[in-house]
């Protein structure tokens, strides 16, 4: 109890400490120096309609690669941490509703996921979002089919190759264009079209696959270890 | 003042004189001691008889080299101390070998004999010897505190460490004696004298009446003779040192012997009056009383010397 009270006092002090961030803060009225340039020149330079995507995949592409790495490490870490599967265990059968729903929804969900990462440079969304959608579809599948085993081999192939291709595309940028992860290795195409913005759709596809595979991998690992 | 071969002869002469003085004083003192104790006592020439008896005895037993050399060290120490002290003021020849060093030399040479003796006794292997040495050394070093302070005091007062110069500074009548000019220091010195003489109350080392304790336990016959010889020279040497330092020295033999007798008597008088200290008592006594007194005396002397 004393400890909780003490924690409360400390947190109160923390709030007092953080007060200037609220009282002494003025929100942006104009775009920042960097953002201004992105908005002005982004469409021409990168060719993506969705500026957020342009920033994520190209301008701050290294962050994204790192982010993929984080996810990859987490997957590997979880796999490393949980070690061997603790044997088979029974799970109760899913209900009819889930089974039917899954059969009906799964293709749509997967399709939707693919749509999201393919259109990442045009509309809100992208590789991560798409990957998550795909993974959620697979989760549904797993829930519905208690006995199903997802081929971890396949997952590995998808995960590893998509990651490697992503790096290779980045490398191509370094060799063929202005620098590592430069998207202009492919023609920027016509602004606003699906096949445009250079390598962004390709990268987002790879990211989508990799994220999807990794999230599934994580779920798979967790599920198996219980 | 340097070494000349003729000085060896003079040295032998002074040794002869002082040896006899020592023997006689020993006899007289024992006699006085007995009379104070309502006994008849020995004849005054008894020490001569004892000495001769010891020298002619022929029981020859030794415990080893150091045991054998112990008395040699002892007598060398006694003779050395004596010879390093200038005896008669003004007489180069009766200053013996004082050209080799000053009062510091004498002060440290005193230990030469004691240490050698202690070593010899140590090799004797008798436990009581070791106990005696332990007590003796402990008490001597404690008593020496007063002596050292007294000597330093004299050194401060006369600004010299040369005994001859100290005596020179006291010439011209009793008023110039250290005894008069610096009484506190002299009191200290006389306490030191008690300690140096090894008489009661500081005689637990030899403790003659009790079980045969102390360094001479194992020594006998010739060894004892040498030690007795030393006993008649060494105390005289020490007494002469005190005479020189505090009582104006002496310009001729008569004055010297008189002064020796008087100064020596001081230890005898105290000895017969006061009972013996245990050794830890006496050590503590020197630290507790003589040391503070010495410090005061030094301060006073510094004031006197200006």
């Amino acid at each position: 109890m004393v400890k909780k009270l003490f924690s409360l006092i400390i947190l109160a002090l923390l709030v007092i400490m953080l007060l200037p961030l609220m009282t002494d803060f003025a929100p942006f009225a104009e775009l920042s120096r960097v953002a201004e340039k992105y908005v002005q020149k982004g469409p021409a330079e990168v060719g993506g309609q969705n500026l957020v995507t342009s920033v994520i995949v190209t301008y701050r592409g290294l962050d994204t690669l790192g982010e993929i790495a984080v996810l990859f490490i987490a997957t590997a870490g979880i796999g490393f941490l949980l070690g061997k599967s603790s044997g088979k265990h029974k799970r109760s059968e899913a209900s009819q509703l889930v089974n039917t729903g899954t059969a009906f929804l799964l293709p749509i969900i997967l399709l939707f996921g693919v749509f999201i990462f393919l259109h990442g440079h045009l509309t809100p969304g992208g590789g991560f979002q798409g990957g998550v959608v795909i993974a959620s579809g697979i989760l549904l599948f797993v829930l519905a089919n208690a006995d199903s085993q997802i081929s971890s081999n396949l997952l590995h192939w998808i995960e590893d190759l998509s990651g490697a291709f992503y790096v290779i595309i980045g490398l191509l940028g370094l060799i063929l264009a202005g620098g590592f992860l430069d998207n202009s290795i492919l023609p920027l195409g016509q602004f606003g079209k699906l096949i445009s913005a250079g390598a962004i759709p390709l990268i987002y596809t790879l990211i989508g696959l990799k994220v999807g595979a990794e999230l599934v991998g994580i779920l798979n690992n967790m599920q198996r270890s219980q | 003042m340097g070494f000349e071969p003729i000085k060896i002869l003079y040295a032998l002469g002074t040794i002869f004189i002082i040896f006899n003085v020592g023997m006689l004083i020993q006899g007289i003192v024992r006699k006085i001691g007995a009379r104070v104790g309502k006994r008849y006592g020995i004849r005054f020439y008894q020490p001569y008889i004892d000495l001769i008896k010891n020298y002619v005895m022929r029981s020859n037993v030794t415990h080893g080299v150091m045991f054998y050399l112990g008395p040699v060290f002892r007598l060398t120490g006694g003779l050395g101390v004596f010879l390093f002290i200038p005896i008669i003021y003004g007489s180069q020849y009766f200053s013996n070998f004082a050209f080799a060093g000053d009062v510091v030399l004498v002060l440290y040479f005193i230990f030469f004999g004691s240490l050698g003796m202690a070593l010899g006794a140590g090799e004797g292997g008798h436990p009581y010897s070791a106990i005696g040495v332990s007590r003796g050394l402990a008490q001597v070093t404690a008593a020496e505190i007063a002596l050292v302070i007294a000597v330093i005091g004299v050194g401060i007062q006369y600004d010299t460490l040369s005994i001859t110069e100290m005596v020179a500074a006291q010439q011209g009548g009793i008023a110039n004696w250290t005894m008069v000019t610096n009484p506190l220091l002299t009191i200290l010195a006389m306490l030191a004298f008690l300690g140096a003489m090894g008489r009661s109350p500081f005689d637990v080392v030899l403790a003659p009446q009790e079980i045969p304790i102390g360094p001479p336990t194992e020594y006998h016959s010739t060894f004892l003779g040498i030690m007795q010889t030393n006993r008649s020279i060494f105390p005289m040497a020490k007494t002469i040192l005190f005479v020189n330092l505090f009582f104006g020295g002496a310009t001729n033999w008569i004055v010297l012997i008189l002064k020796i007798f008087i100064v020596y008597m001081w230890s005898v008088v105290v000895g017969v009056v006061f009972p013996r200290f245990r050794v830890d008592h006496s050590i503590r006594w020197w630290y507790k009383y003589a040391l503070p007194l010495g410090i005061i005396a030094i301060i006073v002397t510094t004031l006197i010397a200006g």
Binding site: I10, L13, D24, F25, S32, E45, Y59, R60, L62, L65, G66, A69, V70, F72, I73, G77, G79, F80, L81, H156, L161, G163, V167, L174, A177, G178, G179, F180, D182 | N60, T62, M66, L69, T76, G80, A100, G101, L105, Y108, F111, A118, L119, G125, H126, P127, A130, L137, A138, E144, V148, G155, D159, T160, L161, S162, I211, E218, D280, I283, T302
Partner: protein, 1047 residues
Amino acid sequence: MVSPIYIFIIALGIGFLLSLFDKAGRAVAMTIFYGALLAMAFISGQWLLHLLQGAEAEIITTAGFQPPFSINLKMGLLEAFFTFLINTLGFLAGIYLLPKFKSQKIYGMILFLMLIMGLNGLVMTGDMFNLFVFLEITSIATVSIIAIEKNLKSISAGFKYVIAGGIASAFYLIATIFLYRFTGVLNIAMMAETLNVASSQAVFLSVFILMIAVIVELKPFPANGWALDAYEAVDSGVVAVIASGTSAAMLFVFYKISPLLNNTLLLTAAGIGLATFTFSNLLALKQKNAKRLLGYSSIGQIGLIITAYALLVRAGYARNSEIVMLTTGGLFINHFLAKAGLFWLSGVVEKEKLEEWSTLRNNPILLFAFAVFVIALVGLPPFPGFFAKWQLVMTFANQGLFFWIGLILLGSFLEAIYLFRWLGKVLKSDLKAELKAKISQIFPILIYLLAILIGGGYLSRLINQGTSLSILYLPVLFIVFLFFIDFLPVAIKNTLVILVGSYYTYLIIPQLSGYRVMLGVIFLAGGVLLFIPGYFKRGKRTGFYPLAVMMYVGLAGLLISENTLQFFTSWELMTLGSYFLIIRGKKSEPHALSYMLFSIGGAFVMLFGFGILYYVNGNSMALSSLGNIESMAGIIYALLGIAFLTKMASIGLHIWLPGAYGEAEADVSPMLSAILSKAGMFGLLMLMAAIQTANLGSINLPYVLGWLGAITVFIGNLLAIYQEDAKRLLAYSSVGNLGYILFGLALMSHMGWLTSITYALNHFLFKALLFLAIGGVVYRVKTKNMYEMGGLIKKMPLSFVSVLIGIIALSGVPPLSGFAGKWLTYNAVLEKGWYLQGVIVIIGGLIAFLYCFRLIYAVFLGQLKDKHRQVKEAPVWFLIPQVILIGAIMLFSTYPAFILGPVGKMLNDILPENALIWENLDAYSIYGHWNGFLIMMITGGIFVIVFLWLYFLNRKAQKVKQFNIVYAAERPSRPELTHVGYNFFAHYKKALGSLSQPYVTKFWNTMADIFHSSAGFIRRIYTGDGQTYILHIIIFIVVVYFLTIGG
């Protein structure tokens, strides 16, 4: 040139594919894995070389846009250096972990590769948010790889780690986004250009949060329980990367964000660093677990580096200026190599408790590595940390940052305590287990061992500021050479050392002038002499020769030093060498420790003094400037004085000495007592020479030293008489004799100094003699307790003669040389007028008679024990130097003029009045005179005459049996009961009562208790509860914030 971006391309590309390669076989995957690590190291290495040759830093832009519009990486000299360190560490740590990688899932390798890549990213990225991404890569990879050991401890430590890391990065993220708001960019350099920290409270707060987040990642006290737990629990190979690699990268991050910080925040960082350094080292005192101890030490070192960096930058040094690089860089590289090495060793040892590391003794090379790493951490030469710390103290002093210096030195001292305690335990505690070291584990350790050795040499060249340390290079090379030939037998090494030592002596002595000649003879010629007994040893005597030579090299270095750096380096070399000599004794571990602690404490005090000297003397390091100090002279002299007094074992600082000298090996004790102790004297001589010419104002330092010397004489000698152990008796006697030397020096007169040098020379002669003789006896009878000996004169007559001569010279009884010292003392005391002190000194000298007698009596006289009836004379190798020493004593006693005359002239440079006049062999002072030659002749003459007299009367004396004594009608039969040896001076103890009590020892014990119990109390904050650790972090942030804005 291969672009640095390939580091990431390789790491990521291979990382992503590694599990696919694994399907082709583990060998394939492992080959590629190590190939990748090697390639990364290669890339950074080639950049390092390239940039070292003066190339321009490379800015790598991504996506074809310039910063701030895209993320940029930088490869400058520092980045190259750090990435090179990290990547080589990665490679070596990878090799270290090879057996684990081989047997475990492929994820281990992937995670490891990602971790190294993340660290590279932290160093190279120039973008604040990208930094966050790499921070998370590092953090997640670390947390994941912690699970390489899947036991409860690792897992729970990992959980605490991930939570704490999560909170730190959360704060980092908050700061980042707000800083983006205030500057409109995410590029750190541009952010620093546009940001005005003082412009608003919110800006200040954002920068503060940024800084504190980075600092929390650097594990500040007290918000570091999570890190400590991880250090303790995590696998050694991994924790080496965390402790060295991650710390390196995080320090670089701190370096990178530091342009954002204003002076207030830099001060805050420095304060946090210092608190961390001090408290970590304090708390480590109570630590018994090796890895956690290393954790405390790591955290402390990082704190020190932060403090050094922040304060230097705050003081106006450019962030990448030479000074900053030398100090923080040196400290960092030292920590980096040593800590990784030690953590790797912990994996080899596989033992938790400190003393169980003694298994390292099974492998001398690993033991050597351990010692080197520990010594490097403490900051002793010739390792980088030493030079860096020196430079740090000098630079801080130059800025007047004395308070900081004080606390840094205190922290360093605490660190030295536990590290040397550990080293001692490793060297001495019982060997219980075998050591199984895999080659994959040894290889990285050896590489870092080599690196730290080279690093020290390299830094010593950088640091010298025009004052060369080259005088020490050749001798140090000889030491290294001796390490290499350590497998040879004693005889060869001993001969080599004696030959080289003689030649070196021959080289050095003519270069010396003034009183240095005298000490040169003692240090070097004496040193060579005392190597002679070494022949008595059989076998290899592993480690003895290099370290003994190190001590002598230090001593010689002191003499030829011209500036404070040379002096201090030599001093530390000497200390280090002597420490290892002392600890060779059978039971000397605690004593060697206490020696080392007093020495290190003293050395730090000296360093402080030199620092102030550097400050007041306008950045001059010349030793000659000691004499003309403008201001603060009193403090400088006092500090240096304390330092020298520790080596002199003056009362109050003496408690290390008896054990150290007493428990050392037979031929080491004389080296220590006769030679090493004069190092303190040399320092004091130098100091006093300076004081002589300086104006001290109201502070009368010599007066204080004079009293100290006098009391030392008295107490040292007094305690000596109570010792039962012969060597301790001699050791306490050394304390007393060093007191004379101190007293003489403090007199500040020609006569006084002459006294002092006479004592020194004499002490060298007789103490070497006594220790050798007693050492020989102890070697034969296998005990040091005097009451267990007795009667040995019949078995070891030559040793007896040595001891006899020794004690006569010691006690100052004429005609031997000791008397010269006594005589000079009287004269000097009278001249100076320090009568009371003089009386105490002389009384102390009288007490010496007691132990002198006891030593010779209890050992050689009295009753021979039954078990010693077969004892032989001491080995001839002990006797040879004794004969030489006896000859020297006799010469010195008979012809003191030949030695003291020139010595007097030597002192004329400093103290012109020639107080002692020599007329042939007669010495005259204004008070008295003395003629050593005549005294010798007269005494000899009388002795011979009396002896002949006795012999004439008593020719046929018969030797009787041992128990043929007059014993109150009893016939004793047991020597044990008849030999009075135990508690010989009980009556003295009884008489003096409290004067004989060991107050000083009690005082230091109480001090130690206070430190340890406060450490025990404070460390309870680390409850082990992850939630408490979270609370600590938040408290830390809040409290530091309010302290920052409040102060």
